[in-house]
Amino acid sequence: MAEPVLVIFFYGLITSLIFALYSVGFSLVFGVARVIDAAYGIWYTTAAYLIYALATRFLLPLPAVIVLVVASMAALGISYYSILVRGLKERIEMIMTTFLVALMVQYLIVAIFTNFPWSIPALFPGSTQAFGVSLFNQQVAAAVTAFLLLLVLWYIVYRTKIGLAIRAVAQDREAALLMGIDPDRVMAFTLALSCTLAGTAALLQAPNSVISPVMGWPMLTLAFAVVVLGGMGDFFGAILASFIIGYSHQLITNLVNPLYSMAAAFVAILLVLWLRPRGVFGRSLE
C-alpha cells in the first residue's frame, strides 16, 4: 500500500503541472498586455467543447483534433485582441468587458450544447502503479505533456526574438516601440499564446473529466490565485505558485478535508494581497 506522502507527492506533481500550464497563459497576458482577462476561464471551456465536438460528434482522429484545437484557439486569441482587448484602456473597463464576454460565450455554449454533462473518452485509459501509487495513464500523459510545453514556453519567452519582444513590451511599452517593436503585434501574439495554453490545458484535462459550461470559472479562480501569489506577469513566479497551490490542494484533500481544498487558493490570495501585494516573489516578466 502506498504511503500518503507518496500519494501527495505524485498527485501534487500532476496537479501542479496542469495548474502551471493553465495559469502561465493568464499571467503572460497580464504581464505583457496589462489585461486582467476575466474571460480566460471561458477559453478553457470553449476549447473543451471544441474537443468534444471534434472528437465525439465529427469523429476526427486525435492528431486532427489537436491541430484544429490549437489553431482555433490561436486564431481566437488574435481576433479577441484585435476586436476587443486592444480598445480597452481602463482596468475596470477591461474586467467588466471580459467578464461580460465570458458570460455571453457561456450562454452561447449552453444554447449549442445544453447543460448536459458531456464526457470525452480518455486518450490513455487505465492506470499504472508507481511505488504503490495508482496513477491514471491519462493524468501521467497530461503531466508529462504539460512539463514539456512549459519548457517550450520558457524557450519561446527567454530564448527567441519574439520572446525578447514580449519581455520588452512587458517592461516598457514606449521604449519597446522606440526599439522598433510593434506592441500591438506582440500583444496579439501573447493573447494567441495564452488562449492556446488554455486550449492545451483543456486537451490534457477534459478527457479525464466531464465538461460543463461553468467548468472554466474554478480555473479562472485558480489562475487569479496563481498570479496573485506568484506576482503579476512573473513566469517563474506563476510556475512556483502553481506548485504551492497544487501541493496545498493535495495536502488539504488528503490530510484535512477535500471540501476545503479550493479554499486554500482563496486564503493564499487574501494573505498575499495583505502581506505582499506584488506577489511572494515581487517580480514581473523581465
Binding site: V7, Y11, N115, F136, Q139, S209, V210, N257, P258
Partner: protein, 457 residues
C-alpha cells in the same frame, strides 16, 4: 377601440381648447363623460361575452425543471406525453366544464454543480407570475425544492415534487400543515419511502453472498463517498458516516472503513480512491446526483486496485440508473449497481408499456424523473376531477384521496402522508446493475436473495 375613440376625443378637446377658451370646459366635460361611458360599455361587453373565456378553459401546469439536463429533459418529455394523452382523451372535467391541460416550463438550472437556489426560486416565481401556472410539477435538487416550497402558502399553489430525494418537506407537511399542505412527493426519501432500509437490506444480502463466494471482495468493509448536498445529510450524516444508517450497519456487523464528502464541483477522485484503497473496502456506498458521478465511475473502473479486490460500487445515485449513464461513462459503468433504476420490470401493467412507449418515441429508456412526471400528471388529472376545480385548497383535499396505480407502482396519499410508501409495489424497490449496456434487476425488497450479479473485475 376604446383607446382610439378616447384619443380622437382628446384631440378634439385639444383643438377646441386652442380655438376657444370659453367653450373648452364644456367640451372637456363632454369628452370625459363619453370616455367613461365607452369604457363602461366595453367592460360590460367583456364581462358578458368574455372573449378570453375559451383560453381560460385550460389548466396551466408549470414545469419547474433543469430543462437542459437529462433529468429535466426526460421529465418534460414524459409530462408532454401524459398531457397529450389526457387532452386527446377529452381533457379534464371540472365543475364548470371540460378543460385541457397546458404545460409551461422554466429552467431552474438546478443540476449546475453550484446548485443555484436563487435561479430555482426565480424560475418557480416566473411560472406563477409570468406564465400563470395553476399547479407546479417538478423539483430535482433538495436544496432548491426546500427553498421553493417556502413560497407555497404565499401563492396557494399545489406543488408535485417529482425527484428530490428527501423527507424534509414531507416532515414539514406534518409539522406545519397549513403552510405546507400544497406539497406532494413522488419520489423516495420520505418517512415511508426512504432508501436507507432498502440499502441495508441489499448490503446484508450482498454480505451473505460474499461470505460464500471467494471471488467477491469483503463486503463487510464499507466505504462511503457522498456529495456535499442537502439530500445526503440524512443517509451519509455529518460528518460523513455519522448517521443512523451507518450505526444500523455497524450493528449488523459492517465496518465503515472510509467516509468522506466531496464538493459538487469535484473533477478528480484520484486522492479519494487512494485513501479508499488503503483500507481495501469491499463495497463503496456512493451518493451522487451530479456530473462528478460520471468521473468517479470512470476512475473507479480504471483504477489499479491491486493488491485489494476491486470494490463493488453501489448506492443512491440519481444519474447512475439513467440510460445515458452507460454512454457517458463509455461503458465504464459496467458492474455498478444503482438505486433508483428504471429496470424493465412489470411492476404494474403500465410500467413496461410506458418504458417501451417512451423508448419508441424518444429513442432512450426513460429515467426516474420521466416516470415520476408521467404519474404526477395523471394523479393531478384524477385529483382535479375529484375536486372539480384547480383551486389549491380544494385540490389538496382531492390529492389527499389519491390511490392510484401508475407506472412506478401504487401511489397513495392521505392528509397525514403526502409521499410514497414503499410497502406498496414500486419500481424504486429495485436495484439495477449495469451489465453490457443494460440495467439488470439484481435485487428487490422482497427477494430472498440477490440474482444475476456481475462481480466487477
Amino acid at each position: 377601440m376604446v383607446i382610439l375613440i378616447s384619443w380622437r376625443l382628446l384631440n378634439s378637446v385639444a383643438m377646441a381648447t386652442a380655438s376657444s377658451q370659453k367653450g373648452s370646459r364644456r367640451v372637456l366635460y363632454i369628452a370625459i363623460s363619453v370616455v367613461v361611458v365607452v369604457a363602461l360599455i366595453a367592460a360590460a361587453v367583456l364581462v358578458v361575452y368574455n372573449p378570453f373565456q375559451q383560453q381560460q378553459k385550460e389548466i396551466i401546469v408549470g414545469l419547474s425543471l433543469p430543462l437542459t439536463n437529462p433529468v429535466g429533459i426526460h421529465a418534460r418529455k414524459a409530462a408532454e406525453m401524459a398531457v397529450e394523452e389526457i387532452n386527446a382523451a377529452g381533457g379534464v372535467r371540472l365543475k364548470d366544464g371540460v378543460y385541457k391541460l397546458r404545460l409551461v416550463a422554466e429552467d431552474t438550472n438546478e443540476m449546475d454543480p453550484l446548485i443555484p437556489v436563487d435561479q430555482g426560486v426565480a424560475a418557480f416565481k416566473r411560472l406563477i407570475e409570468v406564465h400563470g401556472a395553476q399547479v407546479i410539477v417538478g423539483g430535482v435538487r433538495t436544496d432548491i425544492v426546500v427553498a421553493q416550497t417556502q413560497l407555497l402558502s404565499q401563492y396557494k399553489i399545489v406543488y408535485l415534487d417529482i425527484e428530490s430525494n428527501q423527507g424534509i418537506v414531507e416532515a414539514k407537511v406534518k409539522e406545519d400543515y397549513e403552510n405546507y399542505k400544497y406539497y406532494f412527493h413522488f419520489f423516495g426519501g420520505g418517512p415511508k419511502s426512504s432508501a436507507g432500509p432498502l440499502i441495508i437490506g441489499f448490503l446484508q444480502k450482498l454480505k451473505e453472498l460474499s461470505a460464500k463466494d471467494p471471488n467477491m471482495p469483503d463486503v463487510s468493509k464499507v466505504a462511503l463517498l457522498a456529495e456535499n448536498a442537502l439530500w445526503t445529510v440524512g443517509l451519509a450524516g455529518r460528518p460523513a458516516g455519522n448517521s443512523t444508517f451507518f450505526k444500523r450497519l455497524a450493528d449488523l456487523g459492517f465496518k465503515l472503513v472510509y467516509a468522506e464528502l466531496y464538493p459538487t464541483t469535484e473533477t478528480d477522485f484520484s486522492s479519494y480512491l487512494a485513501k479508499m484503497k488503503a483500507q481495501c473496502p469491499g463495497v463503496v456506498v456512493f451518493l451522487f446526483s451530479g456530473p462528478p458521478g460520471i468521473i468517479f465511475t470512470k476512475q473507479w473502473q480504471d483504477y489499479n486496485w491491486a493488491p485489494c479486490k476491486k470494490p463493488i460500487v453501489f448506492g443512491p445515485g440519481l444519474l447512475g440508473g439513467f440510460s445515458w449513464f452507460w454512454d457517458q461513462t463509455g461503458g465504464k459503468a459496467q458492474g455498478t449497481i444503482w438505486w433508483p433504476s428504471t429496470v424493465r420490470v412489470s411492476v404494474t401493467p403500465k410500467t413496461v408499456q410506458f418504458i417501451d412507449k417512451f423508448k419508441q418515441r424518444y429513442g432512450e429508456t426513460p429515467n426516474t424523473a420521466a416516470i415520476d412526471a408521467y404519474d404526477a400528471i395523471y394523479v393531478l388529472k384524477e385529483a382535479l376531477e375529484r375536486a372539480g376545480t384547480w383551486q389549491a385548497d380544494e385540490l389538496v383535499k382531492a390529492l389527499e384521496q389519491t390511490d392510484y396505480v401508475g407506472v412506478m407502482g401504487r401511489i397513495k396519499f392521505s392528509r397525514d402522508h403526502h409521499g410514497l410508501d414503499f410497502t406498496y409495489e414500486n419500481i424504486y424497490r429495485y436495484f439495477g446493475q449495469w451489465q453490457n449496456g443494460e440495467l439488470v434487476p439484481v435485487w428487490e425488497k422482497d427477494w430472498p436473495e440477490i440474482k444475476n450479479l456481475l462481480i466487477p473485475s
